[in-house]
Structure formats: structure tokens, C-alpha cells
Subunit: 588 residues, 2 copies
């Protein structure tokens, strides 16, 4: 028997055709003399009717004893369903296959869970039996959608002159960044390869090599503890371009993402993507990856607070802190319970408490602040946050980073509470002008926010040595619905600027040579101005599908402890394998 078509694709126009389909038995109903099965393949479900009158005894017996998820081949005639069995919910709901022949290809034992989207199954079980989990329509849809996104990326970049170049996965451990996965070398004693955290070095060298426009759907690795949106191995769409400026790259990215959404979801963005600076993002949204599906901007009321009658505010300002507020339009009817919840969240984010003002519809103010503020001070604050009757204003007074963190997070909580974060509402945002350095208390020095090859703005180069905190980088993120999709930057290509950068990072000449000598060396043979970007494919697909976990869009993901519950990797290996590598495990 030879398959002639997919179950899920038969329609009214196929009535009268003799066809052979193959797939899995989704359900069976034995009506005595007539057996109905729903047969499932990648494309959907087709009703198959086995009538004792039309089949050999043996074939009917096969049909009668079919088990769920057994694999069968069935030949027969496509015909219209009887009136009473029409199923408008099914794409094939008008037709059915009247079987004339059936062959059991593979009998299924009872499954650990039913192959249905509706069945709730523990994720551990789904991961252990991933080969069954993938049969569920939602997982198959996700894998197929991922394929479509990847193909759209490849098509677009190919059409735009980007060359797909593969870079090594067995490479060298880098001194900065996350923890590397290491691979012992059998040939070189006591030496290790590292799996790449990104193809950063290689893509820059491809620019030195004149490739001009590069991309790669690249597998990357980070040996860090996992979260819902992290996996030890992940896939990024990695790009680099020569002879461009930041503006060229931003425009390129905007075209790319617009193309992807139109191509795969049919969503068109008419407006240009919003662009804000890192400083603006931190001030107005309290985070460098703002969710701009909703407003709820953070407003600075420090000026008023510093001289007001509320000592908590005053004290914070005297200690060099800040007082900022969010006006929740129409939030005046928040219940005590809601307000209490928000306050507890504020505390969990590091605030000491949460002051608030409810402006009742009749203009009456509910707030502890009425006790402490003069009418003028209150007016000034309400005016600053544009509070009208019906609004709810909440405050955070603390050191700046705590204020940002707290209000940034509360902003999300409130939007969630108000239903302002629809998963099918997609809002892109460019965040630009990241600071070149951030101070690491751990390292006791400034470290690169992006990486040491990121280009500062020319006008800020003068501050590299004396005032590093002031230096803005030509670095940018693409943020979608509050999630950082990816980041990029222009790269330093002038030796003198690179030298200053290393000095600002506190490297000695020897450290520069040891850690970066190879790269610096490469750049002295004629290096084009270049810059690039990389975004997480897994993460993008997750957002596009409205899924909450990367594991929903990866065929064989790792569990939280970086293990594969299906294959039981990582696992013990033969000692002989370790011996040939010259490594031992155990006590240190």
C-alpha cells in the first residue's frame, strides 16, 4: 500500500477519489458491524469508516481490534459524510474515507498520556516521552511554525545579500562572559575546546575577511543555571555587516522583523518601530527592556518630594535618592486587597513600602499623604503625574536603582492586573545608547556592558579614561513586549580607540595580549567599519506563538537541571573514554 495523501488535507473536492492514507488511530468507535476511527497524521484528522459489508473478514477484524495510537494504512473511497456525522469543527469534517482495505503497520501499547492538547500532563512526563508529546497538535504546530520563521529569516537575509557562513563549535574559551562548556582534547594534553557562547569573534573576523554581510542560524552554549527563558544550548540568528553605521543596522533589523511577522503571522506594522535611549527607558519604564503595549509611564516627582511635608520623601531625597510615581488611570477603585498586594510586591522588589493616592471620581483623595502634604504640594504632585478623578497614583521613594526596579516591575504587575498585556499584541522597540560600562562590585572595576569591542560614540571617547560612566556605546537592543529579543553594536575598528577601551577596563598590557592579542592582531591588516546584531530564535518563536516557555518551541529541550529527561543525558561514560582523554573526575 502506498500513501496517496495526508489525512488532514481531504476536502469536498476529493469526493469520489480512491485514496490511501496512513497515520495514528486517534479514537475508535465500534458501532457493531461498523467501526469509525479518527485517523491522525501531521496535517490533521480524517474519519475512516470500516463497514463489515465492504471488508474481508480479516481486515474487519483488524479494524475492530485497533488500539489508540496504533499505526495503520487504509485504502478506500473519499465520500461525503452522512448528515448526522458532519463535523464543522474539523477541516475534513464534510468527508470521510470508506475503507476497502486496512493494514496494521505498528501496534501501540497503552500510552503514558493521551495525544490531545486538552489533556493536562506534568511537564516531566512530557519531556520524558517527548517523542509522544510531539504528536500533540500544539507541539507539532509549534515545530512547524518555528520552521517557517527560520525559513523566512533565511529567505530574507539571502535576498538581502547576506552570506550564511558556518563558524566552529569546537573553539576557544573566552575570558569574559558566561561560563563555558568545555570539551577535553584527546590529542592535545590538558587542553580543552570551548563551545561558543556566540560566534562574536568569528563574525568580526569574517568582516576583516571581506565577507561584507554575514549571517548564521547559530547554536550557542552557556553553562548557567536555567530559567524558563534559558536553555544550555540555544539558537541565535547572528548577523554582521561591513561599511555601515548604526542607523543602517537598525533599519535593516526593522525591515527583517516586519518581514518575518508579515510572512508568518500575516501581521503588518505600518508605523516605524519606536526608538528610545537607554536613559529614557530607565527613567520612564524603570527597565532597559520596556513593555510598550501599554502606557503607565514612571514620573519623577523628586523635585516636589525634596521639599514636601512628608519626611519619608524628604529623607530619601536628602540621602541622594529619588521619588517617582506611576499614575494608574481609572485605578481609583482598586480594592484594599489589591493595594495591599501591590504594596507587598513593591516590598518584594526591594522597596520599603508603597505610598499611594486614590483620586475618587468625586475628586476626594484617599491617601495617607493627605496628612503630611500641604494642599499646594498635593496639587503639584497630582499635576506632575496628570492625575484626574478616578486615577490611582503610587510612589516609590528610595535609591534610584531600587526605585527603577520597583516601579518597573509594578508597572508590569498593574498592566497584567488590568489585562493590558495581550499576547497577540506585538510592540517592537529599539533601545539605543546603552552605557559603555557598568560598575561591577564583584570585579571592583568597570566592565563592558556589551563587550570590549563595542564602539563608543565618537564624542564620548574623550571620557573613556576619566569619566567612564559618561560614555555611551553605539549599542542597541531590540525589545518585543518587554522581552529582550537580541542586542548588537557597532564595533571598534581603530587600534587607538581599542587601546583606550582596554585601559578603561583596567587591563594590563600583558592581559590584553593574553586575552585579546589574537583579535587585535587581526585588526591591523585593514579592517572595515562594521557592526552587527544577534537575536534568540527560540525566544522570538516563543513570543510569536504566545507560549510561556522556551521548552514549548524546542523539539528536545533540557529540563531545569540541564538534563534531558528522555535520553538521560548527561550520563556516566566508560572509564576507557576518560582515559583516552587523560581526565579524571572526583575530588578536588
Amino acid at each position: 500500500m502506498k500513501r496517496t495523501g495526508y489525512c488532514g488535507l481531504y476536502r469536498e473536492k476529493d469526493v469520489g477519489k480512491t485514496e490511501t492514507v496512513m497515520g495514528w488511530v486517534q479514537t475508535k468507535r465500534d458501532m457493531g458491524g461498523v467501526v469509525f476511527i479518527d485517523l491522525r497524521d501531521r496535517e490533521g484528522i480524517l474519519q475512516v469508516v470500516f463497514d463489515i459489508a465492504n471488508l474481508t473478514e480479516e481486515d474487519f477484524a483488524t479494524a475492530e481490534t485497533l488500539k489508540n495510537e496504533s499505526v495503520v494504512a487504509v485504502s478506500g473511497l473519499i465520500r461525503l459524510r452522512d448528515e448526522e456525522t458532519l463535523n464543522p469543527k474539523l477541516a475534513t469534517g464534510l468527508v470521510e474515507l470508506k475503507a476497502t482495505q486496512v493494514q496494521l503497520l505498528s501496534e501501540a501499547h497503552p500510552l503514558p498520556f493521551a495525544i490531545e492538547d486538552q489533556t493536562p500532563v506534568r511537564e516531566e512526563l512530557r519531556l520524558k516521552y517527548r517523542f509522544l508529546d510531539i504528536r500533540r497538535p500544539q507541539m507539532l504546530r509549534n515545530l512547524r511554525f518555528r520552521h517557517q520563521v527560520q525559513k523566512a529569516v533565511q529567505d530574507y537575509l539571502d535576498g538581502d545579500g547576506f552570506l550564511a557562513v558556518e563558524t566552529p563549535l569546537l573553539t576557544k574559551s573566552t575570558p569574559e562572559g558566561a561560563r563555558d562548556y568545555l570539551v577535553p582534547s584527546r590529542v592535545h594534553e590538558s587542553c580543552f575546546y570551548a563551545l561558543p557562547q556566540s560566534p562574536q569573534i568569528f563574525k568580526q573576523l569574517l568582516m576583516v575577511g571581506g565577507v561584507d554581510k554575514y549571517y548564521q542560524v547559530a547554536r550557542c552554549f552557556r553553562d548557567e543555571d536555567l530559567r524558563a527563558d534559558r536553555q544550555p544550548e540555544f539558537t541565535q540568528v547572528d548577523m554582521e555587516m561591513s561599511f555601515v553605521e548604526q542607523e543602517d543596522i537598525l533599519q535593516h533589523l526593522e525591515r527583517l522583523f516586519k518581514h518575518l511577522f508579515e510572512q508568518t503571522l500575516g501581521i503588518c506594522f505600518d508605523e516605524p518601530f519606536l526608538r528610545i535611549t537607554w536613559q529614557h527607558a530607565m527613567d520612564v519604564y524603570g527597565t532597559d527592556k520596556p513593555d510598550i503595549r501599554f502606557g503607565l509611564p514612571i514620573v519623577d516627582v523628586s523635585d516636589i518630594a525634596s521639599s514636601c511635608g512628608f519626611s519619608v520623601f524628604r529623607n530619601v531625597m536628602e540621602a541622594g535618592g529619588a521619588v517617582r510615581a506611576i499614575n494608574v488611570k481609572g485605578g481609583a477603585d482598586f480594592t484594599r486587597t489589591v493595594i495591599e498586594e501591590l504594596t507587598q510586591k513593591a516590598v518584594s522588589y526591594g522597596a520599603k513600602g508603597m505610598a499611594w493616592i486614590a483620586v475618587k471620581p468625586d475628586g476626594e483623595l484617599y491617601s495617607i499623604l493627605t496628612k503630611y502634604l500641604t494642599a499646594e504640594e498635593m496639587d503639584a504632585i497630582l499635576k506632575a503625574v496628570d492625575a484626574k478623578p478616578g486615577d490611582f497614583v503610587l510612589f516609590c521613594a528610595d535609591q534610584l536603582d531600587t526605585v527603577r526596579r520597583t516601579l518597573g516591575a509594578l508597572r508590569i504587575d498593574i498592566a497584567e492586573l488590568l489585562g493590558l498585556r495581550r499576547k497577540d499584541d506585538f510592540k517592537f522597540l529599539f533601545v539605543t545608547d546603552f552605557p559603555q560600562f557598568e560598575y561591577s562590585h564583584e570585579a571592583g572595576r568597570y566592565v563592558a556592558t556589551h563587550h570590549p569591542f563595542t564602539m563608543p560614540y565618537p564624542e564620548d571617547v574623550q571620557y573613556l579614561t576619566d569619566d567612564p560612566a559618561r560614555v555611551r556605546a553605539q549599542a542597541y537592543d531590540v525589545v518585543l513586549n518587554g522581552v529582550e529579543l537580541g542586542s548588537g553594536s557597532m564595533r571598534i575598528y581603530q587600534k587607538e580607540v581599542q587601546q583606550k577601551m582596554f585601559e578603561a577596563l583596567g587591563f594590563t598590557a600583558e592581559q590584553i595580549e593574553d586575552s585579546f592579542g589574537f583579535m587585535v592582531n587581526a585588526f591591523q591588516y585593514g579592517t572595515p567599519p562594521h557592526g552587527g546584531f544577534a537575536f534568540g530564535l527560540d525566544r522570538l518563536v516563543m513570543l510569536m506563538l504566545g507560549e510561556d516557555s522556551l521548552r514549548q518551541v524546542i523539539a528536545f529541550p533540557k529540563a531545569k537541571d540541564a538534563s534531558c529527561l528522555m535520553t538521560n543525558a548527561p550520563d556516566e561514560v566508560d572509564l576507557a573514554q576518560l582515559k583516552v582523554l587523560g581526565i579524571t573526575t572526583g575530588e578536588w
Copy 2:
């Protein structure tokens, strides 16, 4: 200054346009008051003219002091070249850019080698400075061609309903096959991931999961000693299909390869690919990967030899060996030196010598055999190999495998000698019906020729236990010009057959459970008939480009000792990195 076009793309139609180009200085000629440079970018070379009359003093000084491989931006007017400077060999040879402005973007130090295809450079130096080597037109062409082949693969398979699914690179060590690269786990004590030798297990599980048609441009790893056509990491195009038979897969592969060649090289194959069995390949070509660009078939003359007057032949036959011959049409004029060379090669392949007959154009026979064979015996042999005046017949008499190896290799040597192996002559071949098992003297048992999940022909299942050597597998290779591009097979999907297979391989029940339990378990929940194929992308691209080394088609390849001469990977790492992994290096 903003780039308006690629150097290599300007033509007569662009004359009169004001343009800005950016690239590398290939050469400079200073004619006093006029400086000519050839400016190179990814697309080619454009002549740029700096005339002191048209430039600021500063800009002309910049032009005068340009060094080879420095990076510049130049604006100016595209104009026709003067008659005497026309260069028909160059795509841009009719035009030039008359510069009005120039900016030095990056000054180049003297390079370790010139950026020209013609310059001979030691490969070690090329690999160390790979970022410069890539600037050479041939390497850039190779990388671009590889991109085109990869894109054509993706387009074809996408259009044919294959889903691209990514499978894990951090996975589990497999008991059979080549040596694995291991990755120590930080979280799971004394446990290791393995980098995959192929996605075999995962792609079969995707079929269990109902994906139906899968492909992946997959990175694979083998920790083996390198040869010119091996790299520790390599890229294969990996495919698997459900509900198909071998014939469907062979037809699919033929369509795919024909599409690739037409799409990227413009070569159309009108004839179907030749198909021969493994047995036929071994008998007629002495190898399972015959080069069929030429004839030179091997002919079995054992029957005649077993009773002839030449004791060497007779003795070999009595010892259970074989006597086979190749007729080199028109080879009767081989010189003594050539014949001596061929004889030495035969010995190097394991033969004890090489008997031969030269049939001179006048019909006279030159051969030591004339002393021992009767005229009838000689006639019979010459007839068997269809020798005519002008031909040269060579013999190998030994145990069968030595005969095959020797004549298979001599066949290639002779074709090389006669110039029958043109690199732009592409001949595809399917080799089918591989033996299911081969006897491993090392393991002292039969091992799977392909892998333990390969499906035997149904009619041969009966021999699994008692006569394993007789079992033919539904396994097939695609061979191109004597190179194995890839291999595939139908897979076992019935539990009983799998059980017999493991028994034939001599596994105990415990070993089956330990090594394959996970896979066998998966197959009990309804498994579709399925099969697949994988081919080496690096190798295909190498052949298509007529290159002799995989390193010519990989951006950043490893050297023979599996090291990267550019980054110096593998390398020593911080002890702290090993400590966190709980491993130590050193004495065993």
C-alpha cells in the same frame, strides 16, 4: 560618506553616476600627479583614479600614501576608461571611478601574504591568518558557493514538505560508532554529555512523533584522526521520512541532487542516476564507492585461472582465492616504467605482484604468461576480458578482498594516468543492498554495517540467526565520482525484527536494555515505517567546486591535529574552570 554600491558591480550603464565605494586597496600605481588604485570588495575590483587636479591637497596626500590592503571610502564619478587602460579581463574593465573625495578608514600593516589566488602560500600560514586568506577571491567564491548550495537544499526540502527541526548538540554518548567528543557536566557529578556523531536517534524519534518529513543542516562531531576529507566537526544534511519505501527515498534523493546541480552549477542530468548493488560494485569496481566517470571494469577470470598452466593462478584458486583482471583499452603502449609503477602500486595495495598482457597493435602478445598458458587458455582469457589489439590487461590473483582492494585502486590510478577523471564531469551512483553485517575481527563478532536499526530485506530476515552474512540490508549510499557523499537506510520499526537483529549482533538482554532500551521503548507506542539519509555538505561542496580538501570549503577549519591555528584552540583553561566541573587532567 555612505556606500552606494559594490566595487565589482559597476558597468558601462553606470557611467555618469556619482558613487561612493568602500573596500581594500589591491594595488596602487603612482604616476606622479595621478594615482591609480584597484579597490576590492566582495564583488570584485574597481579602478579608482586620484587626480591631483580634482582633489584637496589632503585627500591627494591620502591617496598617495595608501598602502596595500588599507581600507578606504572613495566618492567620485563613474566614467569610461581611457582607451589604453581598458581591461577586458575585468568585469568592471570598461569603467573607473574618478575620485573627488577619499577617506582612509583603516590603515593596513604589511601582510604575511598577498591577497591573490596566484600567490602560493603554505597552508599553515593560510590557516593562521584565515581572516586574510578569506579575502582571496577563490576562498570568497567557495564560501559564497557553499551558501548557495545550502540555500538550494533548504528551498528544495522546504518546498517538498520537510520540516527543519533542530536536535540537541549536548546529548548522550552512544555505545557503537566512532569516538565521541565529551562535555563534562557541572551540575551532574561525574557525568558527561556527548556531542552527536549524527542526529540518528533524534530523527527517528521525530518520526515516532509524527513529524513525517524532517531535515536539518546538522553539525556533527567525530573525535577521530583527521584526513584530507575529514574534520572533527562537519556539517551534514540530515533527512528522515515516514510512510515511505526505499524506492521513494532514492527517487527523492535523485530529485534533490539534480535540483542542486541545476540550481547552483547549471548542470542538468537528463538520465536517471545509475543504480547498482553492493555486490555488483564490489565485483566490477572492487569498492563500494565506484567512480563511474570511466569504465575499466574488473572481470572475473577465476574459472579459466583455476585450471590453467600458470601455477601462481592455480595455487591462488586452490587456496580459495580469486583471479580478476582489468582490460585497459588502448594501453598496449604503456612503457616499462608505467608498468613497473603500476606493479609497485599493486604491491602497496597488498598484492604479491601484477601479471599483465600487452596485446600489441599487430596482435603480438607481450607477457610473461605466454610462457605458461596454452594458446587456448590465453584465448579464453583475452576473450573473457574482451582484449583487442592495442589493449593492456592486468591481473590480480589473491584472496578475494585483496583482489578487490588492489584492482579497485589500480582502476583509479589508471584512470588518473589516462586523464579520465575530469573534475567537472559529475557522475552520480546509487549503491544499494549493502550487507547487513560485516565480520569484525577486532570484536570477534558480526557488527552492523550501517547501524543496528537498519532494516533487512523481508526475505532475508530468516537468515538473521543462522546465516547473517547472507542478510542484505535496505541500505544505500549515494556516490559521486568515487566519493561517498552519504548513506541511508530503511529503519526497523517492528519489535520482533529488532529483537532478532540484536540477537544476531550477539547482545545480551541486559546489553540491549542498557544500550538501546530507551529507543526500543519509544518504538512500542505506534511507529510508522520510516527511513532516511544524510550527506556531507562540506564534501558535496568540495566536489562541486573541484577542490581537493574540505579545508577549502570551510571558513575556519581545523588542521590535521584537530587544532585551530588561528585561535590556538584547544588550549589550556583556568584551573577554576576545571574545579567547577570536578575534573582533573594528567596521569592515569
